[in-house]
Structure formats: structure tokens, C-alpha cells
């Protein structure tokens, strides 16, 4: 999302414009989701962190110092909350509680059934293979790319806030990771 737009939408939302808030959610919730997913949280944890981030954003609305940087604010908060979850899991060693995992969302299902339609089978297979190769990239690459591929695409400032890495290192790292992914796909003849 364009920073000037974000700033204006935040201001309108502060002034009571619910449609502006909705536009912020539409534009920035994929970024928040990507950050949470980049940290490989379980579905249950991912859902709770995502909610916490948006509830806190609503709470701080009107007190955020630089409204045009709301995307970075959300990304930073999502990162901190994700790291807290990872820390608490490590402390409790309660990872992958099967009951929690049973609560996984079923949201992939409608899209899945669309994909599975016969005419789309080949395309579906290609997308699946691409995703699989992506999932099997090294941790750093997987994490960076998961945030970069949010839609709409995040700014490098937002990516920096999401992952705690310098803005200047994102471009070269991105190139390197995409090149690596391409190589893996080439090897499999998947692209």
C-alpha cells in the first residue's frame, strides 16, 4: 500500500470513518498474516497473534506517531508477538499440541476445491509444486519470501520491520533467494 494512502486512511479512521478502517484491513492484513506465517506458528497461535495485532492497532489508533508508517507498525508488532509465542513454546515445550492443531482453519478448502476441478488440475499441480519447493527453502529464504509475497506487496521498510533486518540487505537477499528457488524448480522441470 502507498504510504500516503495509509496515512490518509489512518487519519480518516481516527475521525470515525469505518470504510477507511476497512480499507486498511484489506490493504494490510495480508502483510500481518505473512509475518505471522513467516515465523511458522501453528494455526491456532497464528490466529491469536493476528487478532492481538489488529486489536492493539485499533486501540492505539489516533496515538500512532507516524500514521503513514502504520504498515511498519503492524509488521513490527506482529514480529514481536510471534517471537513471544516462540519463546513461550520453548519455555513450556508444549509444541504442536494435537488438540490445538485440530483447530486448524479450513479456509483453504473452497480455493482447494476450485483448484481441484478437472480443467485446473495441471495448473493446480504446478502451483502446488512451486509452493512445495518454496516451503523447502532454507529458513532465512522462506521467511523473507513469505513476507515479500504478501498481496499487495509490502514496502522494504515494512519487510525490514517484519523481520528485523536492514532495508539495504533485502534486495540482494531477495535476489539470492529467488534465484535459489528458480534453480530448484529448474531441477524438477517445474517451471
Amino acid at each position: 500500500m502507498d504510504r500516503a494512502d495509509v496515512g490518509a486512511l489512518v487519519q480518516s479512521a481516527v475521525d470515525g470513518d469505518g470504510a477507511a478502517w476497512k480499507a486498511l484491513v484489506e490493504g494490510l492484513s495480508p502483510l500481518v498474516w505473512s509475518v505471522v506465517r513467516a515465523h511458522r506458528l501453528s494455526d491456532a497461535d497464528a490466529h491469536e497473534v493476528y487478532q492481538t495485532v489488529w486489536f492493539r492497532f485499533a486501540q492505539h489508533l489516533g496515538r500512532i506517531q507516524e500514521p503513514q508508517k502504520a504498515g511498519s507498525w503492524l509488521a513490527t508488532t506482529a514480529r514481536h508477538e510471534s517471537l513471544k509465542v516462540i519463546k513461550s513454546l520453548r519455555r513450556l515445550t508444549l509444541t504442536d499440541d494435537p488438540q490445538l492443531l485440530d483447530r486448524v482453519s479450513e479456509d483453504g478448502t473452497p480455493e482447494q476445491s476450485l483448484l481441484d476441478a478437472e480443467e485446473a488440475a495441471a495448473e493446480s499441480e504446478r502451483v502446488r509444486r512451486l509452493w512445495q519447493e518454496f516451503e523447502e527453502l532454507g529458513d532465512r529464504c522462506r521467511q523473507l519470501l513469505r513476507v515479500l509475497i504478501a498481496s499487495p506487496p509490502p514496502s522494504y521498510q515494512e519487510v525490514s520491520a517484519a523481520l528485523g533486518i536492514a532495508v539495504g540487505s533485502i534486495g540482494p537477499l531477495r535476489q539470492r533467494c529467488l534465484r535459489r528457488l528458480r534453480a530448484r524448480l529448474d531441477k524438477r522441470g517445474a517451471l
Binding site: 495480508p30 498474516w33 489488529w54 486489536f55 492493539r56 486501540q59 483453504g108 529464504c141
Partner: protein, 163 residues
């Protein structure tokens, strides 16, 4: 598995950087795949829209000042250590202890308050802080939560947090 290790397997790594368009294409394809295979769950998007109701310019925010999860050293061998949280809004301090049995709190300086335990944009369970500022709940908060306190004519809300 480290990135360094991968380098040895993949000679493409060092090749010249004239492949920017190809990289852009892969990124776009991946973006498309993420939108299909790992989208923002619809109910989460809806919750974020509803969260607008939580914006309250009149309430004071009690900011998180201490979280045992982050700020305390782990106790060796201790299991089920309670989560200790401290929130501050000016002179008012809200101490909260979250255990599996519930929630235990203390307002300082001591004062009476009506307290609502929020878990989202909907109304939450009501508690009362006694004259000594103590409050308890036998329902442990799970997931996102905040406390909305009404005391002495003002409203104070603790910063949203995941229990």
C-alpha cells in the same frame, strides 16, 4: 539445514545478476500461489474489520511495563510458572497474574473499580476490584485479552496482549 550448506548444492548461486526479470516472475508466481494456498482466513479478516469497535480515544491506555515471558529469567526446573504482567497508565499500576486456574490482579494505588475482561470486540466478563484494589477471576484468559477498568470517572484499558 543452513543457507550456507545449500550453496554447495546449487552452482546457479554465483551466476551473474542479469536474471532480474526471471526473479520478478518467480516472485509474482509465488505471490499468486500464496493467495490461493495460504490466504488470510476469511474469519480473521472479518475480526480485524470488527476490531474498529475497540478504538476508543477517550480511554487511557495502560501500557505493558513488565512481562515475565520476556523480562524474567526462567526458573530452573519450574513448570507452570504464572505469567506476571504489569501495566502502567500514569500513576496507576495494574498487576496481573495469569495461571491455569484464572486471573489474579491488583490495582495500585489501591482503589475500587469495575473491570471487564475483553477477548475481542464483544462485551466481556465483569469483575470488581475491592477497596484494596484486588480482583480475581476463575476463568483464565486464552488468546488475545485486555482489561477495561472504570474507576473514579475514567476508563483505562490495558494494552492488548496474547495470554
Amino acid at each position: 539445514m543452513t543457507d550456507e550448506h545449500d550453496d554447495h548444492d546449487e552452482p546457479w548461486e554465483g551466476s551473474a545478476g542479469d536474471d532480474a526479470p526471471d526473479c520478478d516472475r518467480v516472485e509474482e508466481e509465488l505471490r499468486g500461489a500464496a493467495a490461493v494456498l495460504d490466504p488470510v482466513p476469511a474469519e480473521l479478516r472479518e475480526l480485524a474489520v470488527e476490531a474498529y469497535a475497540l478504538h476508543d480515544l477517550d480511554a487511557r491506555i495502560a501500557e505493558l511495563a513488565f512481562d515475565s515471558l520476556v523480562d524474567a529469567l526462567p526458573v530452573r526446573g519450574a513448570v507452570d510458572v504464572p505469567r506476571m504482567l504489569t501495566f502502567r497508565a500514569g500513576e496507576l499500576t495494574v498487576d496481573v497474574e495469569v495461571t491455569e486456574e484464572g486471573l489474579l490482579g491488583q490495582l495500585l494505588p489501591p482503589r475500587q473499580a469495575r473491570i471487564e475482561v475483553l477477548s475481542g470486540p464483544q462485551a466481556g466478563a465483569s469483575l470488581t476490584a475491592d477497596a484494596l484494589g484486588r480482583f480475581t477471576s476463575d476463568a483464565p484468559p486464552a488468546g488475545p485479552f485486555a482489561l477495561r477498568l472504570r474507576t473514579g470517572g475514567e476508563v483505562v484499558v490495558t494494552e492488548w496482549l496474547r495470554a
